[in-house]
């Protein structure tokens, strides 16, 4: 009896050798075969297929929004520059912020989770495959709507945060702000869908033995973030879709001072979402760092309970900070004191995590492959943003630098350092899993160093500009202010950032075709995704692995325990109990379907015309009902499971 793992292209590491398995694998390949061609792509419900396009689409918005930033830097490189007038500039910076925050930073993180979580927990797909497809199409709609409007000079122009009354009907006539409100609607729907998927998958579809205290730290990070999304996104969806859109469309008075409304109400609702939003972007990045550090030091991260508790505490406290965006508005002293204290103390859990990573590295065998370099880069860049964050928790200091380039510097340091740098590291770590090929290490080093230099040269001077009096969101400045030279330096740094991203894109395009072929586990990582083939087979794992510790791939015990008995003639997955992951039931998975796409069309057909007339809502509802019928109506594919009057449902399982 052979002791080797079968390594045929059809197999993954959970396959047992032997004839029965070959037959099973063949049947699985038929059962799970993706439909061919464009129609197959359109109707796919495979989380990997959807995850890949979700990630690619997010990066496209990232590049487009980055080009906007390039335009801004050209305009600001000299005082009184005539490259762009104020109207165009205001659209450019609003689209930059809106796209980066709503269309890139959160969606790319949820997209990675939608791809990775089933693989990391040992499941065959997400909990609701069709809902996942629907979420992607709605997300795509949001991005197209924003950028097409922008390129048609109809782009929103009141900032990514659209403060009232400037964004209200009196001071922003026309449809630009309505475009913004609906982009938010689309992205919030997509975000909430992803959150529900992730929570359900993590709670119910984990491999047997993977109790909650054994799930990877990355999985914890996206679980925390998904719960945050569920509580944060309704606030902004409500504020934009309901209240602002209604003020503009049907003359409600939520933000109209004259009729008892309140301009500050918008700020409270927006920032109640907006502050958790930045932690929603940041915490998965922390999860990436844990995965990278473990893999490239060959040690599990030190202090697992501290790491988990830190993420949970951060996620929770994040909801108690939002007023620190409003220190310049009338807030009572008690409120200012509370929000200052909370904003200072939230640094603590993140600091604890950094110390745990340092300890892990110290006790391990660090290898400086590209993902690890980005992890180190994260610490070096992010902490600058972290310490300025503690500074601006102070009310007197914040009142000086609020709405200046000091803040722009702060948040770009935490976002580029704490979100995008780990993201790049994650790309180098998991590219082999997704595509079956390695990214080039040489190009990776170029990417890293251009990024590191570019980010610092671009954003460090902005601290000085803010302290020297330069406010934000200005399309130009006077020559006598003395800001010209630093702005020129900043713009030069932006060129380096563009070059860095260009190198990354080239690396991806070239390596996807002709990179070094990767096996299932090129890095020797600890978590279950490395047991699947690279790229994974459509059904992820032939046999569901049984997990006995936090680093299942590093367990030293002899055999690889697996669970067998999942059907191969139909698409089926294993459902386990929420806390201890004891196998509990089996669940049928849906096949490819066009209805999620049609439902997304219904959503688009509702919310886009809604910027012109409220009758779009009932009309869209009708289309939605049709799409829902198509989605939910049973096709009678499982006669053995049918119940008719007079027929008692069977209680025995089918023979395999």
């Amino acid at each position: 009896m052979s002791e080797q793992i079968v390594t045929s292209p059809l197999a993954d590491l959970t396959t047992r050798p032997g004839l029965a398995d070959e037959a099973e694998l063949t049947e699985l390949a038929v059962t799970w075969a993706p439909r061919p061609g464009f129609w197959g792509w359109l109707t796919s419900v495979d989380h990997k297929s959807i995850g890949k396009r979700y990630i690619v689409t997010s990066f496209i918005w990232f590049i487009l929004a980055g080009l906007n930033a390039g335009l801004m830097r050209i305009q600001l490189s000299r005082p009184e520059n005539g490259f762009m007038g104020p109207d165009r500039y205001n659209q450019v910076f609003t689209t930059h912020g809106t796209a980066m925050m709503f269309l890139f930073a959160v969606p790319v993180m949820t997209a990675f989770a939608l791809y990775l979580v089933p693989l990391m927990v040992g499941a065959r797909d997400l909990a609701y495959p069709r809902l996942n497809a629907f979420g992607y199409w709605v997300f795509l709609t949001g991005g197209l709507f924003l950028f097409i409007s922008f390129y048609l000079n109809m782009g929103p122009n009141t900032g990514w945060f659209a403060y009232t009354p400037l964004s209200g009907p009196e001071f922003s006539p026309g449809k630009r702000v309505d475009v913004w409100a609906q982009v938010v609607t689309f992205t919030e729907i997509a975000g909430l869908v992803a959150a529900v998927e992730i929570v359900a998958t993590i709670m119910k579809l984990r491999a047997p033995g993977m109790s909650l205290n054994r799930i990877p730290l990355y999985v914890w990070s996206v679980l925390v973030v998904s719960v945050m999304i569920i509580f944060a996104m309704p606030a902004v969806a409500m504020a934009s879709t309901m209240m602002l859109a209604m003020d503009r469309l049907v003359a409600t008075h939520f933000f109209n001072q004259a009729e008892g409304g309140d301009a500050l109400l918008w700020q409270h609702m927006f920032w109640f979402f907006g502050h958790p939003e930045v932690y929603i972007m940041f915490i998965p990045g922390l999860g990436f760092i844990s995965s990278i550090v473990e893999t490239f030091t060959k040690r599990p991260v030190f202090g697992y309970p501290v790491m988990v508790l830190s993420m949970i505490v951060t996620g929770f406290v994040a909801f108690g900070l939002w007023v620190h965006h409003m220190f310049a508005t009338p807030i009572p002293l008690l409120g200012r004191t509370f929000f200052t204290a909370a904003s200072v103390l939230i640094a603590l859990p993140t600091g604890a995590q950094i110390f745990c990573w340092i300890a892990t590295i110290w006790s391990g065998r660090p290898r400086l492959a590209t993902p690890m370099m980005f992890a180190i880069g994260f610490v070096v860049i992010f902490i600058i943003g972290g310490v300025t964050g503690v500074m601006i928790a102070s009310v007197p200091f914040d009142l000086q630098v609020h709405d200046t380039y000091f803040i722009v510097a702060h948040f770009h340091y935490v976002i580029l350092g704490g979100v995008v740098t780990p993201l790049f590291g994650a790309c180098y770590l998991w590219f082999p899993k997704v595509t079956g090929r390695m990214l080039s290490e040489r190009l990776g080093k170029w990417h890293f160093w251009l990024w590191f230099i570019g980010v610092n040269v671009t954003f460090f001077p902005m601290h000085i500009l803010g302290l020297e009096g330069m406010p934000r969101r200005v399309y130009t400045y006077l020559p006598e202010m003395g800001w010209g030279n630093l702005n020129l330096l900043v713009s030069a740094g932006a060129v380096v950032v563009v070059a860095s991203v260009a190198v990354f894109v080239i690396n991806v395009l070239v390596s996807w075709r002709s990179g070094v072929v990767a096996g299932p586990d090129p890095w020797g990582g600890p978590t279950l995704e490395w047991a699947a083939a690279s790229p994974p087979l459509p059904w992820n794992f032939h046999h569901v692995p049984v997990v006995e510790g936090r680093s299942p791939m590093w367990e030293e015990a002899g055999d690889l325990p697996i669970v067998e008995g999942l059907a191969t003639h139909k698409r089926e997955m294993l459902v386990t109990t929420a806390l201890d992951a004891v196998p509990d039931s089996r669940h049928d998975l849906p096949e490819e379907s066009i209805w999620p796409f049609i439902m997304a069309v219904a959503v688009a057909a509702t919310f886009i015309p809604a910027i012109y007339t409220p009758w779009a809502y009932p009309a869209g509802l009708v289309i939605g009902v049709i799409a829902f019928a198509g989605w939910a109506w049973p096709r009678g594919r499982h006669p053995k499971h049918q119940v008719t009057a007079g027929r008692i449902p069977r209680t025995e399982p089918e023979p395999t």
Partner: protein
């Protein structure tokens, strides 16, 4: 490094239809309940925030909301709960005939709630959404919960149609029980909002 795979359990004997938190679909329903529930909490928060801008509530010149239709509606909703509990029970028993009757009755009741809610907005609130911020806040609470009523109506009537006309499978009974769970949320979330919209302006 090679390891031999060894089967430690065969799961083909596990059930493929389960109810409640054991069922993966229940978690999706829970997710939407939390999202929509929190949204309703936020509508109440907006209402209370706006109230601080007014000395009188309703504002001077705006009449109090009237009670008959809203009270009828909320009472009917609460009275529907035992029916829905019964639906859940017969769904657990895979009783096709009873589930059909239960769902049809529930769908009709839901339609009544929808109709009464429209009447509440037009005849009982006594203020328009564009009169003042009080009106806007009232319409937003009613409208938000109305969306829940409407979506549930579509779901329940769709499910009733399915149980009469389609090839009904075992898992649909689990879905019918989930519907009961959502119905509880729909009714119980309305009770405090009814008080906020229709009783609080009269009490203050």
């Amino acid at each position: 490094m090679t390891r031999r795979a060894r089967a430690v359990m065969n799961v083909s004997s596990l059930p493929d239809v389960v109810f409640g938190p054991r069922d993966i679909m229940w978690w999706g329903t829970l997710g939407f309940v939390v999202i929509e529930g929190f949204t309703l909490v936020l509508t109440a928060a907006v209402y209370l925030y706006i109230q601080q801008n007014f000395a009188a509530w309703p504002p001077e010149g705006t009449p109090n909301p009237s009670l008959p239709i809203p009270t009828l509606n909320v009472v009917l909703m609460v009275l529907s709960l035992p029916l829905v509990r019964w639906i859940s029970k017969v769904a657990h028993a895979f009783d096709l005939g009873k589930v059909r009757i239960g769902l049809t009755t529930a769908a009709l009741l839901n339609l009544v709630f929808v109709g009464l809610r429209i009447c509440e907005a037009i005849f009982s609130l006594n203020v328009k959404w564009d009169s003042n911020a009080y009106g806007s806040a009232q319409w937003m609470i009613l409208g938000s919960h109305f969306t829940l009523l409407l979506i549930e109506f579509i779901e329940v009537s769709g499910m009733a149609l399915l149980f009469w006309l389609a090839p009904v499978e075992e898992k649909h009974f689990s879905d019918a029980a989930d519907m009961a769970f959502y119905w509880y949320f729909m009714v119980l979330s309305w009770v405090p909002l009814y008080m906020l919209c229709f009783l609080v302006p009269r009490w203050i």
